[in-house]
């Protein structure tokens, strides 16, 4: 199956995306955020909470006076390492218990600080590297089924219930398990600590929860002879930290969008731009596939109208991702099957949109989201809409496939719902496995015309954005009909300009790693 798309227009769209992202990247390079700094500490091995439950990375970064913070927490922390001779974890604990404070350690020269950090940075990178290799070995030994990867969510709020649900789903054919985060975690300016059993509409993303899930899925994967991937959410106020935790605990994917937090969570745009960059550098290095959130454009607005915005966002996400060093096969651009099912020929429009993304981003790990908005309590009809979604996915060669639930409009998935959803996907994708190879799209037909219209409209949109600049465009509600001001929104206070001599040892190392 192939669309006859205007390749030159695609090239122009990419140039526009580059022109849009370039000035933002300059901004990013000149700034850091509290979460970036906390991620540096986490990578060094700092973890745990203070007696009043504040995560120690937060306590440490918050304790820095502004001028120190601007030079990066690593320098101050490195001095303390040099002076105390402690391991980072032990130093973190001492600081968290207020046995000492960073301001005590200002004597060591910068060189000593860097020297003290060196081996720990090395160790952290080696640890991540080891996880990446472990994944590669496991995937070679325990090969996945033919694409798309079937992906389901667990969302009980309790990590132990989630674990049972995840293992059951893996047995039923799931290849990727996403632990949905508790509502609004993306708005917390810290990462909760420890195993958690009480979440709301989802389970807290914590390093302990990551580890519990990873262990269970590794065990299941060995038993099933099929590596089972684990996913969580980065986008939010703690993107870099979650990226660090995910690297350490060998998550395989992360929701990580360059604009989701801005548009859908009212997170400050500068904060998000800086955070997404560092988190994606980490993702790149850890071999983690990012998932972008274009589906969010479609859950509240009309999916036919929003198609150009989805595509424009994909171009922008791709550009940001490339600039953070992510190779195409780690870029899971999002889309969703959200066109009103009662629209005549809606299936054709869906195929057009999905195939367009496939051809424009041939090597991307396209992530395809299921129908949600038009699902109702009629579970029988819902199961059919999911079937047509499954068909579209296998026809157009999507890479990552979120299984739709027949109970989407009713409750977070039951264990049995997940089994039915996986059976739906497995049946449809098997019975029509090679349909996409069998057919040629009629030149000038509805599908081809629709795809070409969407591409053209997307180019206009990108052009408009490139003319005003991305931040101004967001302010004037170009995306998802919401307007956000550059200095408004959550987490703006955590963004700061880097001072001369700013130092982030991981950034340097990762940039080097990516370049080589």
């Amino acid at each position: 199956m192939e669309l006859n798309i205007d390749r030159e227009r695609v090239a122009r769209c990419r140039e526009l995306a580059s022109a849009i992202v370039a000035p933002v990247e300059a901004f990013i390079a000149a700034h850091s955020t509290v979460s970036v700094e906390r991620a540096v500490l986490r990578l060094l091995g700092v973890d745990g909470v203070t007696p009043d439950e504040v995560p120690i990375p937060n306590a440490i970064v918050d304790s820095l006076p502004d001028h120190e913070r601007r030079r990066g927490v690593a320098l101050a922390f490195g001095k303390a390492l040099a002076e105390t001779g402690l391991e980072p974890a032990a130093l973190g604990e001492a600081l968290g218990l207020r046995r000492c404070a960073l301001e005590q350690f200002t004597h060591a020269p910068e060189g000593a600080a860097r020297g003290a950090l060196g081996p720990h940075v090395e160790a952290a990178l080696r640890r991540i590297e080891a996880q990446r290799e472990e994944r590669a070995r496991a995937m070679a030994r325990l090969p996945q089924l033919p694409p798309p990867l079937l992906y389901v969510i667990v969302a009980s709020g309790n990590i132990y219930e989630d674990r049972s649900a995840a293992v059951a789903a893996a047995e039923a054919g799931a290849q990727v398990i996403a632990v949905i985060r508790s509502t609004g975690q993306s708005l917390l300016d810290f990462v909760p600590f420890g195993p958690t059993t009480e979440g709301f509409g989802g389970t807290y993303a914590t390093q302990a929860n990551f580890a519990i899930m990873r262990a269970a899925l590794d065990e299941a994967g060995e038993r099933l002879g099929r590596y089972v991937m684990l996913t969580n959410y980065a986008s939010g106020l703690c993107m870099p930290e979650i990226a660090a935790m995910a690297a350490i605990e060998r998550l395989d994917m992360l929701l990580n969008d360059s604009m989701y937090g801005i548009l859908f969570r009212d997170i400050n745009m500068k904060r998000t731009f800086v955070d997404q960059h560092f988190s994606r550098m980490l993702n790149a290095y850890s071999g983690i596939i990012i998932n972008t959130g274009e589906d969010n454009y479609l859950t509240t607005a009309d999916a036919v109208d929003q198609a150009p915005a989805v595509l424009a966002s994909q171009f922008i996400n791709e550009e940001f991702a490339h600039r953070a060093g992510l190779p195409d096969d780690q870029i899971g651009l999002g889309d969703a099957y959200e066109i009103n099912p009662d629209l005549e020929d809606s299936f054709l429009y869906q195929v057009a949109q999905a195939q367009l993304a496939r051809e424009i981003f041939p090597h991307a790990a396209l992530k395809y989201m299921p129908p949600t908005k038009h699902m109702t309590g009629d579970v029988f009809k819902g199961h059919l809409i999911d079937a047509m979604f499954n068909l579209t996915s296998v026809m157009t060669g999507q890479s990552i496939h979120l299984c739709g639930m027949l109970t989407e409009a009713i409750h977070t998935p039951f264990l049995g719902d997940r089994a039915l959803a996986l059976e739906n996907a497995r049946y449809i994708m098997s019975t029509a496995r090679h349909l996409g190879d069998e057919i040629v799209l009629r030149p000038g037909g509805t599908i081809e015309r629709r795809a070409s219209d969407v591409l053209a409209a997307s180019e206009s949109l990108l052009r408009r954005v490139s003319e005003t600049g991305l931040m101004a465009a967001i302010q004037s509600a170009t995306f998802a009909d919401v307007s956000r001001s550059p200095d408004g929104g959550r987490g703006f206070e955590g963004v700061f300009a880097r001072a001369d001599g700013y130092f982030n040892p991981f950034e340097d190392a990762l940039r080097f790693a990516v370049a080589s």
Binding site: A169, E171, G184, G201, G416
Partner: protein, 250 residues
């Protein structure tokens, strides 16, 4: 008069129903039998476990057809829909102009931690829902959309400060009864503040029924597929009725 109805398969009163469920047991013929006995305990007859299969280690899924002897008297059921007053936007505006004589001030929000604004927006926003304009478009309504994740306390404060006539609360997330908790909190707070009689209090969301709303102390509740005009008409008529004695006293 009473009219007892029972589920209908292919013959009046055969009582046929379909069931599906998961049991936390390893599948085997004995698991099918367990499913059959369980459906029997639920009170069903002619239980047929038409499908039983393993869906994971320690979990089996069943599809069952059975008959129930239970029936329900449909004549006895009072579930008057709150959407009984069918009026168009123009008619509502005219009605308000005549019977209320001023603009009605409406505030709406998605309360608690719920962030699903699409439903309340469908009722309030200009654009409306399924071709039916939202309250913002009505000449005789002044609508304030407070958005999402609004604490009941805040909504009550707003009501007091802005002389709100009608309050619209939305809840879409129902997990662990959070909707009931939030709705109850709102009506109790209004009561405590002595505002309950002054406002038309309305709740809505996909799992809301008018009956549930009544039980929670609301004037009305609107469920899935609600059109803004039905809400507008209800507010107009209810408010007009409350004002009538006062109007008469002039």
């Amino acid at each position: 008069m009473s009219k007892i109805v029972r589920p209908y398969g292919d013959t009046q009163d055969d009582g046929k129903i379909q069931l599906s469920f998961t049991l936390p047991v390893e599948w085997s013929e004995a698991a099918d039998e367990a499913a059959r006995q369980l459906a029997g305990k639920m009170g069903f007859n002619d239980v047929q476990v038409v499908d039983g299969r393993p869906i994971a280690t320690g979990f089996s899924f069943f599809v069952v057809y059975a008959s129930t002897r239970e029936g329900v008297d449909v004549e006895g059921i009072a579930a008057p829909s709150a959407g009984g007053h069918a009026m168009s936007m123009e008619e509502v505006d005219a009605y308000v102009a005549e019977h209320v004589g001023r603009k009605i001030r409406v505030a709406g929000a998605c309360i608690g931690t719920d962030a699903h604004t699409v439903g309340i927006d469908a009722i309030l926003n200009m654009k409306g829902y399924k071709g039916d304009y939202g309250l913002e478009r009505y000449r005789m309504f002044e609508a304030f959309n407070l958005g999402s994740q609004v604490a009941p306390e805040e909504l009550v404060r707003y009501t007091k400060e802005h002389g709100i006539d009608a309050l619209l609360a939305s809840q879409v997330v129902t997990q662990k009864g959070s909707d009931i908790k939030n709705f109850t909190r709102l009506s109790e707070l209004l009561e405590a503040e002595g505002l309950r009689d002054r406002v038309v209090l309305i709740c809505g969301g996909p799992r809301v029924t008018n009956r549930l709303a009544g039980e929670l102390g609301y004037d009305a509740g609107f469920g899935r597929g609600t059109l803004p005009s039905a809400v507008a008409a209800f507010i107009a008529v209810t408010l007009a009725e409350r004002l009538r004695p006062r109007v008469g006293a002039r």
